[in-house]
């Protein structure tokens, strides 16, 4: 069975001086997250970016796969955690 997940972004202005906002996602878990080119390529200043979101996608996917792999090897994890830098 296919599963769809959607995200909606609005953008105002040109690339260098404009800003965008991730307004909504299917789950409602996030909304109103701002993005901009200077924040993406220079100092984030608390703003997320495509690269950070894909890091988040990858980390969530990997944690589920790792949990599954450990369980199949007979070592169900109590907790998996990525260390804070």
């Amino acid at each position: 069975m296919a599963t769809d997940r959607k995200a909606e972004v609005t953008w105002q202005g040109d690339l260098m001086s404009g800003t965008g906002r991730i307004d909504s996602v299917t789950s409602g878990a996030v909304g109103g997250l701002k993005v901009s080119w200077p924040a993406r390529s220079e100092e984030p200043g608390g703003m997320t970016s495509p690269e950070e979101l894909i890091a988040a996608a990858h980390a969530t996917c990997f944690s589920m796969a790792l949990s599954n792999g450990l369980a199949q090897a007979g070592h169900s994890p109590e907790e998996l955690k990525t260390p804070r830098p």
């Binding site: 769809d4 997940r5 202005g13 965008g20 299917t26 878990a29 993005v35 495509p50 969530t60 949990s67």
Partner: protein, 153 residues
């Protein structure tokens, strides 16, 4: 373009079927978003998922690329609405794969016709780093629609 890195930290507790996790952005833009396997493949129920985060990444990346293409063409956008829909599906060998990301761009732009916008939106996806990444193993489609025009489909 400078070297750009993104970072996110997760915690996961319990087994894959019934456990759950939380994801935090390196920038602090979001903190402890919940996710789980059940909500990943069934009803989302206010929990995010890898596919939803990928959709957000793709939509944000594509929005910047469309803004860039329109500006380079001398017709910067007044307003863009971008939607990305990522689909996870079971493939022939029984495993699950991300099979597609469908992009929709709706724009208010002065001095551009529908065909011109469609062409620029296509070029924007070709220049979008996330489209490149996804195209390595899934299909990316682009739909473009000018708002306030007479081409409304």
């Amino acid at each position: 373009m400078p070297r750009v890195q993104g970072e996110a930290n997760v915690t996961w507790e319990g087994n894959v079927a019934r456990g759950s996790g939380a994801i935090t952005a390196g920038t602090g833009a979001f903190d402890a978003l919940p996710y789980s396997l059940a909500t990943r493949i069934e009803r989302a129920a206010e929990k995010t998922s890898p596919e939803e985060l990928l959709a957000a990444a793709h939509a944000a990346c594509f929005a910047m690329s469309v803004a860039s293409e329109l500006t380079s063409a001398g017709t910067p956008p007044e307003h863009l609405d971008i939607t990305a829909t990522v689909t996870l599906d079971q493939v022939e060998d029984g495993s699950h794969r991300i099979v597609s990301s469908e992009l929709l761009a709706r724009a208010r732009v002065t001095g551009l016709d529908a065909a011109g916008f469609e062409r620029l939106a296509q070029a924007a996806s070709e220049g979008c780093t996330l489209s490149k990444l996804i195209e390595a193993s899934a299909k990316v489609t682009v739909n473009a629609r000018l708002e306030g025009g007479t081409d409304g489909d």
